[in-house]
Symmetry: C2
DNA sequence: GACGAAAGTGACGGCGCTGTCCCTATTTGC
DNA sequence: GCAAATAGGGACAGCGCCGTCACTTTCGTC
């Protein structure tokens, strides 16, 4: 889980160095030994660190107080608008629900903080559409299949190709061939979903 | 976060199809429409799904009851030995704390379930050593640096190379060159940690 | 019947990661 | 001093993913 966050950060900030801590104790050691520009905090769950009676807010405020020079973002699974109000007064710049943290969102979050000074990502429109992942597909192919499966019935595939080509900065024709390759792979492995 | 789990699964089971749901409602739709062999459940945090009053146990039991043919594993951030006792009586085969879910562990978990019928992964020895990730390094290089930084002072680097070569099934000499390339990159970008 | 959308197949260059091999200074140890 | 360990550099083939180009066939519709 930490790794996922690290990868998001690395994708958003090229050529950065990320330090990760499994427990609050380790985190406190790190912020004493280093000067960080950006700090992500996952307050964790009840009983996250048994040796500490700190609750969520205390944990956050402790870290923030000890690193006044850094920008702080709270990443939480148990989102709460009220908690955001509380931590923003402490000096937290961002409050992101894990549910609204999709791949690639990190860049937008950091941009928003740079522009408006803060960023909130509660569970807005949870993409209710289920996600399907096929291990035999490369990431690009996976993405193509994902898009195609969400295609409304009255939209031609060609339109999706154009849409996707623009979105990924590639040729619409290439997008078409990706989808075809993906479909061929799924057919070959007998994993073709009924949505053709 | 879901994606991280999906990737772990795909790494553990080659050529598999993974369906992911953001909410319990979506999950219930999925298990009605499909026949799954393996189901991972993250009961989520308090308030995870606001439209449902189900608590953690109710959520888990609902899913388990509706999919008697599948193997169930609970992945949770708020681990609790007591909860494991409760869910095992329902028919859950695995109970894994997110903290003990390191990259590559999935294979061992599934193997353990296949062998002993169940698998528990509470927060055993939390690797207290902090983790450092450099975006400029490739995964292999990253791994080498990680190992080398954890090297006890009285162990020669050569021994680490041998150790690593065996662990990764590569030449010890190759491991050496990976570390050197990694070090050169870090030096070039001014990101070299003091641990040389 | 003609035309366009869609499906199915084959091939190519570029790029990055991997794993291997070789060659040279400099430092550390016995 | 000599040998081993360490640091530093350059080169190569294999492989998978990416993006592109070209060709044929089937189907539905007008």
């Amino acid at each position: 889980m930490r790794l996922a966050l690290v990868h998001e950060l690395q994708a958003a900030i090229p050529a950065c160095v990320v330090h990760a801590a499994a427990t609050i104790a380790t985190a406190l050691e790190l912020i004493e030994a280093n000067q960080f520009a950006l700090i992500l905090i996952d307050p964790g769950l009840p009983g996250y660190d048994p040796r500490s009676e700190m609750d969520r807010l205390k944990t956050i405020s402790t870290v923030v107080e000890r690193t006044p020079a850094a920008i702080h973002i709270v990443i939480t699974g148990a989102e709460s608008a009220q908690e955001w109000e509380e931590v923003r007064t402490i000096g937290v710049a961002g409050y992101i629900a894990k549910n609204s943290l999709k791949p690639g969102t990190m860049t937008a979050i950091l941009q928003s903080i740079a522009d408006h000074g803060c960023c909130v990502g509660l569970m807005h429109e949870t993409s209710m559409s289920p996600e399907v992942y096929h291990a035999v597909l490369s990431p690009r192919e996976q993405e193509l299949v994902q898009w195609m499966m969400q295609r409304p019935a009255n939209i031609s595939r060609k339109a999706i190709y154009d849409q996707l080509g623009e979105h990924l900065n590639i040729d619409a024709a290439s997008a078409e061939r990706y989808y075809k390759r993906a479909r061929a792979k799924l057919l070959k492995f007998g994993q073709l979903p009924e949505s053709l």
